[in-house]
């Protein structure tokens, strides 16, 4: 017996991890997290979630659901009533769908994973804007795809030319688009989407459209790319309840897709996740049914904070006014610091946490992501601290 154990203990640890997993980097945002633990004086602009709690109506409904004993699995697809409500709700963004084309997921994060795994064959190229949300590239790699990053500077937007340039040389299968965007807050008007759709059709692409911030569009009305002519059968649309209804920790989202892709995603979902948590699904249904006022109230506050914060930041930096989400992505190159240096120094000296732009891709370098999902008072204090930071270090 001992001899067998000896043999086992000498097994090669280097080989026991998946090569794909070793290939991906841990999130640059998480790295930063360690610097903050245990500090109390921090004003965090590094948070990618609403500062409002879940509206009480929704919480109350979930408490009631627990009391009534709703603790079981749901269908793999998710509750029928919720899918029906989602189908009805998404008409406001121009998309016609049926409950059968919708899967309720454990947040949009799962939906991204499902869409990529359901469509990628080993080596397929996936176009991803740079900078963009941290999970697109690693999830593409894990699914066996080949991420192709499209630099979006200077306006952080995709357009026909930028997509064509990379589509020509890589013959990609998929384009990932996220608008309003994390980390830049940019979004697209219908006309701009038409142009992107032209490229999508010309290069015969599938589109993964992450529309999680759709409700938080301030400058114009959000339109789903799937609503454009000829796009319905090419689009996998995803959205959820985390941002609009402040339900981040409840992990509930959904994906709307053509029937074949829905069936493929459902296979993965039923074996890996089974179903989204039932209580969260019940909360989500209440959100769609009765929480529009709460949503509007929160949105009005974000918009005021955005206007205030952008105006103030423009005293120090070049800032693109974000169209939506709750992020602003100022250009800090005038300080001659790298984004990581800037973020680290600001945190150490003034206890203001922001996320270095390079966490979202190479093109994010020279920028920082600031979330304005914090109270007005904290935003004001953060501005004061940033100002004294810049003055003390003679940075601008």
């Amino acid at each position: 017996m001992r001899r067998i154990r000896d043999l086992q203990s000498s097994h090669n640890r280097r080989n026991r991890l998946s090569k794909k997993v070793q290939e991906i980097e841990p999130s640059g945002i998480r790295k930063f997290f360690d610097l903050i633990i245990g500090r109390k004086d921090i004003i965090s602009l590094g948070v990618g979630e609403p500062d409002f709690p879940v509206p009480w109506k929704i919480r109350e409904e979930m408490i009631y659901a627990l009391e009534k004993g709703y603790t079981s699995y749901t269908s793999n697809y998710g509750l029928y009533d919720l899918r029906e409500a989602v189908a009805k709700y998404y008409k406001k963004f121009g998309v016609k769908s049926e409950p059968d084309n919708i899967i309720i997921t454990t947040g949009v994060s799962e939906a991204i994973d499902l869409a990529l795994r359901a469509t990628i064959n080993e080596g397929d190229s996936v176009l991803i804007p740079d900078p963009s949300y941290v999970s697109y590239k690693p999830l593409t790699i894990l699914a066996g795809g080949n991420p192709i990053l499209i630099p979006t500077l200077p306006d952080f937007k995709l357009n026909y030319e930028k997509i064509s340039k990379y589509a020509k040389i890589t013959s990609p299968k998929i384009l990932i688009i996220n608008y309003p965007a994390n980390p830049t807050g940019i979004s697209y008007r219908k006309k701009e989407l038409e142009e992107i759709a032209d490229a999508v059709i010309e290069y015969d692409l599938l589109v993964i459209s992450d529309e999680i911030y759709a409700e938080l569009t301030y400058s114009f009305n959000h339109v789903s790319i799937a609503s454009l002519n000829g796009m319905e059968d090419r689009c996998i649309v995803m959205n959820g309840f985390s941002k609009a209804f402040a339900m981040t920790g409840l992990r509930v989202g959904y994906v709307i897709a053509p029937p074949d892709i829905t069936s493929a995603m459902l296979k993965i979902h039923q074996y890996s996740m089974l179903c989204a948590p039932i209580v969260s699904q019940i909360g989500a249904l209440e959100a769609l049914k009765n929480a529009e006022d709460d949503l509007e109230r929160m949105k009005a506050k974000y918009m005021r904070r955005r206007n205030f914060f952008v105006k103030k930041l423009r005293n120090f930096f070049d800032v693109l006014k974000p169209d939506g989400a709750f992020y602003v992505f100022p250009d800090i190159r005038n300080t001659r610091l790298s984004s990581e240096e800037f973020a680290e120094k600001l945190l150490m000296k003034k206890s203001v946490a922001v996320v270095p732009g390079n966490a979202f891709g190479e093109c994010g370098e020279g920028h920082i992501r600031c979330s304005y999902a914090v109270s007005m008072d904290k935003l004001k204090e953060a501005i004061n601290r940033i100002e004294s930071f810049l003055k003390e270090l003679n940075l601008i």
Binding site: I29, F33, S44, G46, V47, D51, S135, R305, N307, K311
Partner: protein, 162 residues
Amino acid sequence: MCNTVEILKIIEENARLSPEEIAEMIGCDAEKVKEIIKEKEEDGTIIKYKTLINWEKAGEEMVYAIIDVSVSLTREKGYDDIAKRIAKFPEVQTVRLVSGEYDFQVVVKGKSLKEVAFFVAEKISTIPEVKDTVTHFVLRTYKEEGVLLFKDEEDKRLAIVP
């Protein structure tokens, strides 16, 4: 693009913001904000600026009572006349005409139970049109003017998340 309703909503929640700050929040000119606020003060849309105080916390015992008042109407005296008569007492904080089993809901503030009780007995009940009163003393206030007076939730978010 100065939206008057937007300005009113903002100062309804926080009257202490400066016109400059309000202007930055809604993306318009501070002078214009000042002008609109002045106009709305003058035409009575903005009634008054007050402060919401938690008197219990300040250690000052204040006694509040909600009085249900039933009245009988006559040709000479309608709801408005009776309401005005009640409202003019400084002890009376609020007077509302309501639907249901009684007519007016009156909130009275005083220093002690006795003071409030005698005020009701001597000043409200004795109005000829008042048929009946029911006095409810307030034991604790949990929410006032849309503001929670208790704290049971704090920000539980992590400082850095995607």
